[in-house]
């Protein structure tokens, strides 16, 4: 029986590949948007404007303090109630972008604040504009601190993307749900689901570890 189911599962592989593609699409788009928004918000969070800092802080707390599943439901089921109609894919990308952005915001802000104050003072004293200070002095140094946890956050977001299956996005997890109804070998089916996530995440985990070691070496050299 087991080998029959395994054979069936192998025949479903193309379906799983569609799920992989969907997961990569949702997570990929969200990470691009989340990185851009996260950097902008992180820079403002570490900036001088107190109101912006407070507003972003509240947003981060709300996003981090509520379950991701609830956030998706709010975006997918509640926003249409006030006239914002979204398909499941868009809702998933918006929700995951929002989640990633809030975490990346904190990572970036922490990195910027870890750059010693004297660096900005030296740049200010030599007449560099705020933008040039950020672009050439502060961000390059902050990136040493930011990169390893940033890549780590990418891994977390890819895994969190499995939650979007709850609103009907046919990602790897959703394909697993469908398949397990036909092939009642839960361990086998979700073993494959897990393996596919792992295959996507593993290179990033390695990259994060590599960056961590490299950045540590650079910090010692500096």
């Amino acid at each position: 029986m087991w080998s029959f189911y395994f054979h069936e599962l192998m025949r479903s592989l193309p379906f799983f590949m569609k799920g992989v593609w969907m997961t990569v699409a949702v997570a990929g788009l969200s990470l691009i948007a989340g990185t851009i928004i996260g950097f902008i918000c992180g820079i403002m969070r570490a900036g001088r404007n107190k109101i912006l800092r407070a507003v972003i802080g509240v947003w981060v707390d709300i996003v981090r303090g509520t379950p991701f599943l609830v956030q998706i439901f709010i975006i997918f089921f509640i926003l249409p109630g006030i006239g914002i109609e979204l398909d499941a894919f868009s809702a998933a990308v918006i929700a995951l972008s929002n989640l990633s952005a809030s975490f990346i915001c904190e990572i970036v802000a922490g990195g910027i604040l870890s750059v010693p104050k004297g660096q900005r003072e030296a740049a200010t004293a030599s007449g560099l504009s705020q933008y040039h200070q950020l672009r050439f002095i502060v961000l390059p140094q902050a990136m040493r601190t930011v990169l390893p946890p940033l890549v780590g956050q990418y891994v977390l977001s890819i895994k969190d993307s499995s939650v979007v299956s709850a609103i009907g996005v046919v990602d790897i997890t959703r394909v697993g749900w469908f398949t397990v109804q036909r092939i009642p070998e839960g361990i086998m089916v979700f073993g494959l689901v897990g393996l596919l996530y792992f295959a996507i995440c593993y290179p990033l985990i390695n990259l994060s570890g590599y960056l961590e070691r490299r950045m540590t070496v650079m910090t010692i050299r500096l």
Binding site: E121, A122, T124, S126, G127, S129, F136, P140, R221, L222
Partner: protein
């Protein structure tokens, strides 16, 4: 060149600069000394508005630093500032440290800025360390790169905030020699330092501060031999006794 008129500054309740009046002429070298917490670092950090003042007038190179509307980028481009802790950019080579501001602020061409950078680093005795990163340099070398970084903006004024206080004793000489070289070249300078031998040699005037006040202003020989105030005498005996 630099003119303080009735300048006051507070950190919260703490009155750190108390009715400061001081004129520094073009080409003059002024050494500021005093016990720690006397306000001497704050005084020179006000000159390029790293610290804002709350009261009074502070005019630098005919530009009103006390006026919030003044374009400080323009003022700062004319003032080199050397920090106690060097504050070199660790991700850039010595040469890049010296060229970033000329390229971005003075809009100099990269090749011209690099030539100027090389020339200036050579002038401070670092010809063979041009492509080194700060972490590969000794403290004295780092501080000379920091001086070169300031000089590459071709400033009218150089400010030094305890430039040798973070250095090992054997490196103090090389940095002081570099600063002396500038002084003899006619640069307008304000130097916060405890190096009294240096003050005696190059300063036109010594400003002694205590508790946020300027207590004495005198030519170095007068101040060292014959301080007029009790506080000045006490300070001198405390730093000269060891």
């Amino acid at each position: 060149m630099i003119s303080f008129k009735n300048v006051n500054k507070w950190y919260g309740d703490l009155h750190v600069l108390n009715n400061i009046n001081l004129e520094v002429d073009a080409g003059e070298v002024v050494v500021v000394c005093g016990p720690s917490g006397s306000g001497k670092s704050t005084l020179i950090r006000c000159i390029n508005r790293l610290e804002p003042i709350q009261e009074g007038e502070l005019v630098v190179d005919n530009m009103a630093v006390h006026d919030k509307k003044t374009n400080m980028t323009k003022v700062r481009a004319e003032i080199g500032f050397v920090f106690q802790s060097f504050n070199l950019y660790p991700h850039m080579t010595a040469l890049q440290n010296t060229t970033i501001a000329p390229i971005k602020v003075r809009k100099m061409k990269k090749a011209d800025a690099e030539e100027l950078g090389r020339e200036t680093l050579t002038r401070v005795g670092l010809k063979d360390r041009i492509n080194s990163y700060p972490a590969q340099l000794s403290g004295g070398q780092q501080q000379r790169v920091a001086i070169a970084r300031g000089l590459c903006m071709n400033p009218k004024i150089m400010l030094f905030d305890e430039p040798t206080s973070a250095l090992d004793p054997e490196m103090i000489g090389e940095v002081l020699d570099t600063i002396k070289m500038l002084a003899k070249g006619g640069m307008t300078m304000v130097v916060v330092t405890h190096e009294m031998g240096f003050a005696r040699e190059v300063a036109n005037r010594v400003v002694f501060m205590d508790d946020g006040y300027i207590v004495e202003v005198a030519p170095p020989n007068d101040f060292f031999r014959n301080a007029q105030t009790e506080r000045g005498k006490a300070f001198l005996s405390s730093i000269l006794s060891h």
